[in-house]
Symmetry: C2
Subunit: 189 residues, 2 copies
């Protein structure tokens, strides 16, 4: 089984040899180049992506060409244009690989297969879901209660990797502010 999958299941589910092979067969390896688009806005997100190495960005584009980053997915985490994946509707967001990245992809059908064939997978998935939901709740909180400076500080505290690893244009639109505002926040302490 792929080491990233071993790690994902470690301490949660013990799999038989047969089950390991089933799981391994469901997750298909994929390499993505820097800036490669994995899901184009308007198309349907057909896969969940497990990021083995690199970083994915889920982002929105406005009519005027400006972009807003909805989520960032780092090594060890899973994600996709979620509303599109679940509802099977054209995605309003695009999915992009920020650097060169190594991924494992899981199709909707294979996700179902795992629900049916791997006892414990649905529980594991459900718990990951709950944590993702909690993250999004906290993001909403920061957006409705804090100004730009406070949101930046919180991001620096909770996710320094985002600020360290990513270009500030992307950090800015993740925070929902302009890059100029972010630049000013960084300089004025």
């Amino acid at each position: 089984m792929h080491p990233a999958l071993k790690k994902l299941f470690a301490g949660k589910i013990i799999l038989t040899q047969e089950q390991e092979e089933l799981v391994n067969g469901c997750f298909k390896p994929l390499s993505a180049r820097r800036n490669e688009i994995l899901v184009q806005k308007g198309s349907i997100a057909r896969h969940l992506y497990l990021v083995v190495k690199g970083c994915l960005r889920i982002f929105l584009t406005n009519e005027d060409g400006s972009e807003a980053t909805r989520f960032l997915i780092f090594d060890g985490s899973m994600g996709t244009a979620f509303p599109s994946f679940i509802l099977k509707k054209p995605s309003v967001a695009s999915v992009q690989s920020l650097g060169p990245s190594e991924l494992l992809t899981l199709s909707y059908a294979d996700r179902q297969t795992l629900f049916n064939k791997i006892p414990g997978w649905e529980t594991m998935y459900r718990q990951a879901m709950e944590l993702a939901y909690i993250e999004s709740i906290q993001r909403i909180e920061s957006l409705i209660t804090m100004d730009a400076r406070a949101r930046y500080k919180i991001l620096l505290r909770d996710h320094p990797e985002i600020i360290q690893r990513l270009p500030s244009r992307i950090v800015a639109d993740y925070l929902g502010i302009s890059q100029e505002t972010l630049s000013r926040l960084k300089s004025k302490k």
Copy 2:
């Protein structure tokens, strides 16, 4: 079984007589008065609430006394101060009944009981979770890409019940804007 539970399970899981009784026993009825606080900020949210009638509000309070509404839960939906409920940590948010309301409460332990004893409950719960997550993603989108006027229009389109049924002070802090700004949006078309 309580009619609200019948409705919740309808078309999803067929329960035996015994299972119906188990489910019914896990959900405890509770009436809440107008403005009653069900979960106080700082305490742990020990229950999920199914709103039979009325409306719950999950909200944050700042040091300066200002409030921000994180979520609103109407008839037929379930919710609570979710991060606190799942992580079993003191809640940063409070839960309040906006009008007189009828609720069914499910404790963390009873939720687990249902996971273990009712086949299909976890799938049903997981799907509800996914929809709640999608809602929160769309909320984030509106917060990072739109100004106050656009957010108001979207809310009017997607959740007119919120604007119709709730005082505008609460609509305003749900949108993340001041009540004065909301008042001006409404008058200037």
